[in-house]
């Protein structure tokens, strides 16, 4: 079987080969250029012995490198108060499960014996071998219940069960959140308090109005009975 150099692509616009390749650049004796380069590498080598910014090795695990406070790793579920399972803010709305790009979240809604939703998850599993640390679950959650943790020393000897985090493993208190990401936690707390205050104020206004209405009705009834 014989082979001929590419005969296709004969169209002048597409034929991109020169007839013969041009000759390579003439070889010149390595001179100043090479010496300048060697000077750069020599300087770097010598400086690596005394310049602090060139000594970047961190003796792990005795020391740990400083990590930015904004570093995001795997998610955690936030709970208010002392009891992790009772205080979980998650209502199992399934928004994070639907938005998760690699579909690593698995939620089962808890229902009572009549089938009515109890607004909390019965099962909340995150498979961290699948999770890609994108943080979209934390971004889309409407109930301030899932946030990104910064823990990275998570190696385990069990590659299947050890990397499937259930809701007990995922639950962290809001104090932990405040310590980990103070700015974000403070903003969330302020917003939740403002919403709570607004709700209470609306409740109080409704009660006051109801009381005022009742008082007005009683007064009207009393006036009527007086007239009659």
């Amino acid at each position: 079987m014989s082979l001929v150099l590419n005969k296709s692509m004969e169209h002048p616009a597409t034929s991109s080969r020169a007839a013969t390749p041009p000759p390579a650049a003439a070889w010149t004796l390595p001179g100043i250029g090479l010496l300048k380069g060697l000077a750069v590498t020599a300087t770097n080598m010598i400086q690596s012995y005394y310049r602090k910014d060139r000594m970047t090795t961190v003796q792990y695990p005795e020391e740990r490198a400083t990590i930015s406070p904004n570093f995001r790793n795997f998610p955690f579920l936030a709970y208010d108060g002392a009891d992790a399972m009772a205080g979980l803010r998650c209502t199992a709305c399934l928004i994070c499960e639907n938005e998760c790009p690699p579909k690593c979240i698995y939620i089962v809604l808890d229902r009572d014996e009549n089938g009515k939703s109890l607004k909390r998850p019965k099962v909340f599993d995150i498979d961290v071998s699948v999770c890609m640390n994108c943080g979209i679950c934390a971004e889309v959650c409407p109930f301030d219940s899932i946030y990104m943790d910064g823990e990275y020393e998570l190696s385990t000897t069990d590659r299947f069960e050890g990397l499937l985090f259930n809701k007990q493993r995922l639950a962290r208190s809001t104090d932990y959140h405040a310590q980990l990401r103070p700015l974000e936690a403070a903003e969330v707390a302020a917003r939740r308090k403002a919403d709570e205050d607004k709700k209470l104020a609306a409740q109080a206004a409704k009660e006051a109005k109801a009381k005022a209405d009742k008082a007005a009705k009683e007064q009207a009834a009393a006036q009527e009975s007086e007239l009659s």
Partner: protein, 202 residues
């Protein structure tokens, strides 16, 4: 700068009277309308756009395949002008984005549609006019199944050579021989269980 599509349309009508063309409107806010070109005159249109001195569309930037299983959906996305052929069943479509580097104009969007999604999936290749289509047309053949007539080397590019089926089609069924999935549940768990009874544990 976006090209003046109506002007190009009239120009093409004048220069290539035998060509079947239609101006499709893009209902979205991007304003990128397209020209629907019948496959038979596709190469002639591309050749004209490339060679014409004042249009000079020399850069074929992007060649894309689209699978339209339902023509009613196409009508919603790229509204046909009056007089364009109605589609029979679904079809496969190839979309071209052309730019002119000298005039700084683009993107000019051309579309070519196959007859159906089964046997009549042939569209002429534009590699003789634009070399940049070479690998992109191979990819569309690989992932959609469009057969480009006149392509010098039409074979699979991203999937392996012995692969059957075309993954980007809307009706593609992924094979269910998953490897062990750590968090199987619901349908995934059922599929995994079927495979684990069939194969021996090692």
């Amino acid at each position: 700068m976006t090209p003046d599509l109506p002007a190009i349309f009239t120009r093409l009508r004048a220069e290539l009277p035998a060509a079947t063309l239609a101006h499709l409107r893009n209902p979205g806010p991007s304003g990128q309308d397209s020209l629907l070109v019948a496959p038979a005159c596709l190469v002639a249109v591309c050749q004209f756009l490339h060679d014409s001195a004042d249009l000079d569309f020399d850069l074929l930037s992007n060649v894309t395949g689209v699978d339209w299983p339902d023509p009613a959906l196409t009508d919603a996305v790229a509204l046909p002008a009056e007089g364009s052929a109605a589609a029979v069943g679904g079809f496969l479509e190839v979309v071209y984005h052309l730019y002119s580097t000298s005039r700084r104009v683009g993107p000019l969007v051309l579309r070519a549609r196959s007859v159906d999604r089964a046997e009549q999936v042939h569209i002429p290749s534009v590699v003789a006019v634009y070399r940049s289509a070479e690998y992109q047309e191979r990819e569309i053949f690989d992932l959609f199944g469009v057969k480009f007539t006149g392509h010098p080397d039409l074979r699979r590019i991203l999937m392996w050579d012995e692969f059957l089926d075309h993954p980007m089609r809307k009706d593609y069924l992924a094979p269910d021989d998953y490897q062990y999935e750590p968090t199987p549940h619901d349908a995934v768990l059922e599929k995994a269980k079927q495979h684990y009874t069939a194969t021996s544990e090692s």
